[in-house]
Symmetry: C2
Subunit: 254 residues, 2 copies
Amino acid sequence: MLDQKMEIIVEHVYKEILNQLSRQNNSQHTVSQEKEALTRAQLAKYIDHTLLRPDATEAEILQLCREAQEYGFATVCVNPIWVKLCSDQLAGSGVQVCSVIGFPLGASTTCLKVEEAKRAVSDGALEIDMVINVGKLLGKDFSFVYNDIRRVVETSEPALVKVILETCLLNDEQKVAACAIVKKAGAHFVKTSTGFNRAGATVADVTLMRQVVGQEMGVKAAGGIRNYDTAVAMIRAGADRLGTSSSVEIVKAR
Amino acid sequence: MLDQKMEIIVEHVYKEILNQLSRQNNSQHTVSQEKEALTRAQLAKYIDHTLLRPDATEAEILQLCREAQEYGFATVCVNPIWVKLCSDQLAGSGVQVCSVIGFPLGASTTCLKVEEAKRAVSDGALEIDMVINVGKLLGKDFSFVYNDIRRVVETSEPALVKVILETCLLNDEQKVAACAIVKKAGAHFVKTSTGFNRAGATVADVTLMRQVVGQEMGVKAAGGIRNYDTAVAMIRAGADRLGTSSSVEIVKAR
């Protein structure tokens, strides 16, 4: 059903999106105004409170969980080794646990991503941030990219799946292609960046991604969001989730 | 057998090593002289020809394999998604395939590292470069770190296992502890760095690691080795394997 047709679909979507973007410049302002009225608690609900450094210790992860409860962040976003600990800490708190998968290179096999997602969910993760296979996308193996995501989505149910594009490695056409594939694969969010490559989220990328996926999917901005102004700029551009390690500083500025 | 004793062992080894280092400053010169006489072909055999960028395409991986055959590098070092392709390309060539595992954060679960190693070996990898769990090491959970490595070593047989310490995140005491644990776990090499964190191999780290593991184990220097002089400096300091993406440039300078 999919294989060679995917390239045609992607090209079609790409043209449609660029047309839309050139016509549509005014519709976002009403949304922006509304977003400015966010309370601190509402802002906190946009945030995946994130700690992905390889040298993060158990003590730091526990601190992350305490902060997430105190401020009411949407999730804590951690490496797989910490998912179980966070789930135990956060049980009943309303803060979910988000695990990264195939992170940050996205260059493990599909089988491994599936296995990793399965275990993260069984350890208590209700959100899964997987990295797309960038090399396969650049090589136009869209069928591979689709299946890589689709299988993780199927495995992870009922968890939400966010798919990281690593936008700093993609041109606009590739970003659109990636968004179209992610949407078709049934994932719940597209996400800009791992925060481990040469650049993070930009307003332009978030705007583009929101245009491609429409309103039925989420857009997560991550990487380089270190203060309140940047956070608000990303929300105005269309992000409905933010990944950041500066979460406490950001909500305190509200 | 292991649990709490490990900390005592590590402290003991650490003191012993520092004593050795303060006494032993002359023994390396004969080795250095000998290493200077390396031919280009001998130098190539020190090198894991490495391409780990997430945006590496199939075309680039095939080019990597061709270069490895042409110059006679020890291995190609690639992400898991490319192991099968490289094994097929390099069958019978004398160039081995090296897969990274838990890379580059080392913060996946032991089960996942084991599963990833198992599949890499079944895809044809004869060398496995795994990343240590840095957070658990810093938290002094030495038993965890030991088991994490030991299980990958057992799973990967007959493949060689190199264990990446990510030295830029460790102080000297932690580097020594890591080397002692890696050796006890039966791995074949200690390796300095992933090349994806803030710094790569240094002469001082390679010297220290060689002192701790002795002559029965390998030491791989990786990260930031971009020219012939750096490569030779690492070999003089005790490295018997180098991980680099500048391999062709390095051997051509010989």
